[in-house]
């Protein structure tokens, strides 16, 4: 039986007089890897930010893990925030903390684990995302863009969340790391039963990892479903984006 992790209904987003989303609907099932695709500036990042309560939407409904974001209390919101991990497009690591401290922060704040245990967990997460232990004591300013991405993923995974939001996780990674990343995502999903929502422009990664996708075009969902019958859809973006890719 499939249960619903996230449901977006009739969403409308507006910045000033510019409408970004208009009656947008989508459903994300528990345990699936769900992709948000669409041309640049169509509002993928904005939709993600609305889901994690960073941006207010104009009207409509977002329901996440059973919490209705329209009238969520501050305690529930706090509970919900511990259920997810978020990877920002540019990493957004805390620049005053080393990578190790960045990853350890949620553990230090939210658990009463011993420092030794936390250290073990941090070392494991660093390994998991493919960083070297020597890098753990560096500050975000001292590492490369790709390493920031990995460290940010490790931080997002620190609390073993049920829900993972990823904004362009493979952009800025070298091809090998990108494929490793895809493998890691698949593994995490099968081991921990994670639900993953990600924005991506990386075709390889899209075909390798995503179960279902939503294509945002012209403020609405142009297509929602599996990749198998995506080419039958009448959309200029889909035609050019998926057109050339033949397996």
């Amino acid at each position: 039986m499939m249960s619903t992790a996230i449901e977006v209904k009739n969403l409308k987003t507006q910045f000033g007089s510019k409408i970004i989303h208009q009656s947008l609907n989508l459903t994300i099932n528990t345990g699936e890897i769900y992709g948000l695709l669409g041309p640049s500036g169509c509002g993928k990042t904005t939709l993600l930010r609305e889901m994690v309560m960073l941006e207010k939407y104009h009207s409509g409904n977002i329901n996440i893990l059973g919490y209705d974001l329209n009238n969520i209390g501050s305690e529930d919101a706090q509970k919900l925030r511990r259920e997810w991990g978020v990877l920002f497009q540019a990493g957004a690591l805390f620049s005053s903390l080393t990578l190790r401290e960045n990853i350890a922060l949620p553990l230090v704040e939210y658990t009463d684990l011993s420092p030794k245990m936390i250290e073990e967990i941090v070392r494991f997460k660093i390994n998991l995302v493919g960083l070297k232990h020597g890098d753990a004591n560096l500050y975000p300013a001292q590492i490369s863009g790709g390493m920031k991405k990995k460290a940010a993923l490790a931080r997002a995974l620190a609390m073993d969340p049920k829900l993972l939001f990823l904004d362009e996780p493979t952009s800025g990674l070298d091809p090998i790391s990108a494929r490793d990343f895809d493998a890691l995502i698949l593994e995490l999903r099968s081991l921990l039963g994670l639900t993953i929502v990600m924005v991506s422009h990386d075709l390889q990664s899209i075909y390798d990892t995503l179960d279902r996708v939503a294509i945002i075009d012209h403020k609405k969902i142009a297509y929602e479903g599996t990749l198998d019958n995506i080419k039958s859809v009448e959309s200029k973006f889909i035609k050019t984006f998926f057109g050339k890719y033949n397996e």
Partner: protein, 374 residues
């Protein structure tokens, strides 16, 4: 041959021939435009733009040439563009395809003084409202913060006290010492005239303890810590660190805002105390050198005439000034938009507004204390 000369003009029987030569690039355009502007346009009926001796044009030149053609098309019945070079034609075709006719963009200026004044007032009204909403959020956050002692982040508070308090001790002591010296020196001259040397103690004690030390401390701290708070928080906003904190359930008010405000409110009275000591020392030095008042005499007179309440009043101002400086600085930091310009803008604003707020607050204190007879 002159390298910059890329255009020759010949005119006969009403036919204007613009013959371009060599390479036309973005660097030679304005010269060509000047030459074309000087052409007498009165008796033209045909224009020929000859590109046959042109070896290369860039896209800016393409835009320019099409513009020239359009300009003459509007003037005369016949315009012709002569060109055989395939690359140049392709460049022209590309420009023609991708060029968006620039609309006559008339910025409507609010010329009307009423309109401008209205907009000005409204902008400041909205800014004021958003500051009030910041204070409201601050208040509700502090209610949550102090509900249980477990929430209080001693480590951050200690760190901020060290950063904005302890590290500022030197500069504040020095500034205050110099202020003491200056005030004493200026008044010594006047007092000598009346032979009222000993009253320098009364003057210094009152002015430094009540007004000068708190004020100087506030100004130095606004410049030092206020600007730092704004820039730190503004930078965190740009790098999305604040967003990352929020998604992790770390309320920035608990983690960044309140620790800074509390730390400054604790540090400020201590700094004012140090400023008091340094200022009086400075005054004492001048009294000794200039007015021959010994340290013993100075201190004896000091304890006779300066009531301890003056000291308390000065120190009491500390937390109020600290709150103003820290909250304005942090508010300004949170106002930073997603661009680097606005960090500079808001940091400047933060310091200016904090100093202004401190002076207003000090004036209110003066009125209140006078009316209370303290």
């Amino acid at each position: 041959m002159n390298k910059t000369l890329t255009l020759t003009i010949s005119q006969k029987d009403g036919t204007l021939c613009l013959k371009f030569l060599g390479e036309i690039t973005v660097y030679t355009l304005s010269k060509n435009q000047e030459t074309i502007d000087k052409i007498d346009r009165s008796k033209l009926n045909r224009v020929e733009i000859d590109l046959s001796d042109v070896t290369f044009i860039d896209t800016a030149a393409g835009i320019f040439l099409l513009g020239v053609r359009k300009h003459f098309e509007a003037l005369v019945s016949q315009t012709q563009l002569v060109c055989t070079n395939d690359e140049i034609l392709r460049t022209l075709a590309l420009v023609e395809k991708k060029q968006e006719p620039s609309k006559e963009h008339k910025e409507r200026f609010a010329k009307n003084i009423v309109e401008r004044f209205g907009k000005f007032i409204y902008k400041h009204y909205v800014a004021f409202l958003s500051f009030i909403s910041f204070l409201g959020e601050l208040f509700s956050a502090s209610m949550r913060y102090f509900r249980s002692a477990k929430n209080i982040r001693y480590k951050e508070i200690m760190f901020e006290i060290y950063e904005s308090g302890i590290k500022a001790l030197g500069i504040i002591a020095l500034t205050s010492f110099l202020i003491g010296v200056v005030v004493a020196y200026q008044s010594a001259y006047q007092l000598k005239i009346y032979g009222a040397n000993i009253f320098i103690v009364d003057m210094l004690g009152l002015s430094i303890l009540r007004e000068l030390a708190p004020m100087m401390t506030a100004i130095v701290i606004a410049g030092r810590s206020g600007s730092a708070f704004t820039a730190q928080i503004g930078a965190m906003k740009i790098t999305e660190e604040l967003d990352a904190m929020r998604t992790m359930g770390f309320d920035p008010y608990m983690f960044l805002v309140l620790p800074r405000i509390i730390a400054l409110m604790i540090a400020m009275p201590i700094l004012i105390f140090v400023a008091d000591i340094a200022g009086i020392l400075g005054g004492m030095l001048i009294a000794h050198i200039d007015l021959k008042i010994t340290v013993e005499l100075f201190l004896e007179r000091f304890s006779d005439v300066i009531a301890v309440k003056h000291f308390y009043i000065g120190v009491l101002k500390g937390p109020f000034f600290a709150f103003l400086i820290a909250s304005i600085a942090i508010y300004r930091g949170l106002m930073v938009k997603n661009d680097t310009q606005s960090i500079g803008f808001n940091t400047t604003k933060s310091v200016v507004e904090a100093i202004f707020a401190v002076i207003v607050c000090d004036a209110l204190f003066s009125i209140a204390f006078t009316n209370l007879g303290i």
